[in-house]
Amino acid sequence: MPGKDLNEWLRESATFSKPVIAEIQRAARTGIYDIRGFGAKRQLPAFDDLVFLGASMSRYPLEGYRERCDANVTLGTRHAKKPIELKIPITIAGMSFGALSAPAKEALGRGASEVGTSTTTGDGGMTPEEREHSSILVYQLLPSRYGMNPDDLRKADAVEVVVGQGAKPGGGGMLLGQKISARVAEMRDLPEGIDQRSACRHPDWTGPDDLEIKIQELREITDWEKPVYIKVGATRTYYDTMLAVKAGADVIVVDGMQGGTAATQDVFIEHVGIPTLPAVRLAVEALKEMDMHRKVQLIVSGGIRSGADVAKALALGADAVSIGVAALIALGDNSPEHEDEYRKLGTSAGYYDDYQDGKDPTGISTQNNELAEKFDPVRGGRRLANYLRVLTLETQTLARACGKSHVHNLEPEDLVALTIEAAAMAKVPLAGTDWIPGNN
C-alpha cells in the first residue's frame, strides 16, 4: 500500500522520463518542433573527463606569481599580411545582432577589447556599435550573406567563412519573426516580422574546390591582408580539417556539439555532431598529418566554461578557444537577479534557453527596445572582461603547474583520462594505465 508520500512508490520510466512525456505532449499540442537557444543539454564526454598530471619528481613547475606563463596567440600567419595578435587564447564566438541586442553586442566588444581579444559578427552583418567597441573584429561570411558588403569586409580584422556550427552542423540560421525588428529587417533586406530561415549552404560555392576559389576572391578583395578562417561544426572533423587546409584557410574553427545557438530545433542541437573533446583531437591529428599544426591555427569552441576547459583544449593542440554561451552568462544571462521575470516566462534562472522568442528579461537575446535598454553594456563589458581574465589566470595556473612558460606548451602528455570514453576520444591514457583505447 502506498504511504503518505507517493514519490516513494512512483517509478519514473527511464525511456519515457518526465521531460520526454512533456515534449510529446507539447508536440501534440502545438504541431511544431521545439525551437530553442543555448546548446546541447545532454550529458556528454567532455573536458571534465580529463585531468592534468602536474609537475612532480620528473618535471618542475613554475612559480605562480613570479615566473611568466605567456598566453598570447597569433592567428593567420599562413597567408595574411596582417595576422591577428591576441593577448589571451580565448575569443568571442560569432553571435549576430538580431540574435543579440545592440547593447549586448557592444558589451561583448567592450569586454573582449579590454583584455585584448577578438569578437565576431554573426548572421546579419556588422553594426557600427560592434565595430566601434571591438578592437579586433572577425567578420563572418555566412550562407545568407545578410549585411555582407565590401566596406565592412575591409573594416574587419579577419574573415570567417562559416560552413557550419556545432549546434547544427548541416543547418542554416534561424531568427523568428518576433526578433525581426525594423533595424534587423533593414540590415538583412527582409520584410519586418517574418521568420528568417537562412540557407544552410553557401549560394555561390559548392564543395572544397569551389571554396578554395571563393577564398581567393575574398583575399583579392581585401588585398591579402586579412586572415581567413573557416568554421565548421564538428562532425567528420578529421577530413573537414584537411579540406579546410586545402581550401586555403589561415585559421580553422571547430565547433563541437555543445556549441550554443540563438534558435535551433532541439532535435538538431541534441542529436547532430560530435562533442568538442574528440573534435579537438581529430582536428589536431589532421593538421599534424599535413604538417600544418601551428602553421594553420586551430580555434576550438563548444561548451568551454573554465580555464580548465581552455587548458585542456590547448593541451590537446588547439591554438585558442572560442566562447559563446559562457560569454552571455558572464554578461548576465540566466542571472538570479531576474528570477521573478524568468518565473513569469515559465522558467527559472539557470534554465532559461528561449533566446529565440525575444523576451529575454536580461535584455541580451532580444530586439525589444524596452528590454534591451535595461542592459548596461559598460557593466556587461566589465563582467565579461573579468570572466575572461579569470579563464586566462586559470589556464596559466594549470600550465605553470605542468611546468610550461607558455600555455601553448601544454601537450597531450600532460593529460590522462578518467573514463574509457574520454581516453578513446582524446587519445590520452586512462588514468593509472598506459591504455589508450583504439591504439594498438
Binding site: 550573406r145 565590401p150 569586409l153 533586406d189 555561390d204 569551389d210 576559389i213 581567393q216 576572391e217 583579392e220
Partner: protein
Amino acid sequence: MLGTGAGEDLQLESLMTPHCIDLEATSVRDLNQALHELNGTQEKSDWQITNPKGRHAVAVGIDAPLNVNIDGHTGYYCGGMNKHATITINGNAGPGVAENMMSGLVRIRGNASQYAGATAHGGLLVIEGNASSRCGISMKGVDIVVRGSVGHMGAFMAQAGRLVICGDAADGLGDSLYEARIYVRGKVAGLGADCIEKPMGAEHRRELSGLLAKAGMTGLDVAQFRRYGSARKLYNFNIDNVDAY
C-alpha cells in the same frame, strides 16, 4: 600569385589611356591591386583586360566608377562585390559573376554560369546570353536582365530586386522568394515553393520597360512578359503549410 616585375609594367601602363592589362603578363593580384588603388575615388578611367582565360576573381572589389572591359572568358566571381564600376565581359562568365555586387553595371556579352548575381545588393547585371542555374540566388536588391533563358532555381530565396528573363525559365523558379519581382517572357517550366504568378499592371509594365531600356534590350514587347512574386504564405511558420517545406 604575384608576378615578378608586374608592378613595374603596371606603372608604365598607367601612363597610357586606356590602361591595358594582359593577364598573360600581369597577375590577377597585380591587376586587382591597381584597381583598388583607385577605390573611394571618382576616377573614371578605362581599363582594357585581355587574356583572362578563365582566371578567377578578375576585377573584384572595385569601388570607383571605372570602365573595365574584359576580352575573353572569365572564371569564378568576376566583378565580385563591385561598387560603381561598369564591367563588360566580352565572353562567357564563370560561376558567381557579380556576386554580392553593391552598385554599378556588369554586362556579359556571352553566357553566365551558375549563381550569377548571387546575393547582390544593387546595381545592374546584364547577361546577353543564357544564365545557368540559381541565377539571382538570394539577390538583395540587384536588377538582373537575361536576354536568353535561365536554368533551374532562378531567384532562389530572392529577397529584393528584379529578375527579368527574356527567354525561358527552368524548373523551381522563385523558390522561397521574398520581395523580389520576376518577369519572364518565355515558358516557365515550374514555380518553386511560395512563388506565384501575379497580374501585370501598368506600373509593372513601366518598371519592366525601364529595366529593358537600362539593359539595352531592344525589340521586346513588354506585353509578352508575365510577372511572378511571393505568395507570402511561408513568411511565418504555419503547420498547415508543412507540405511546402
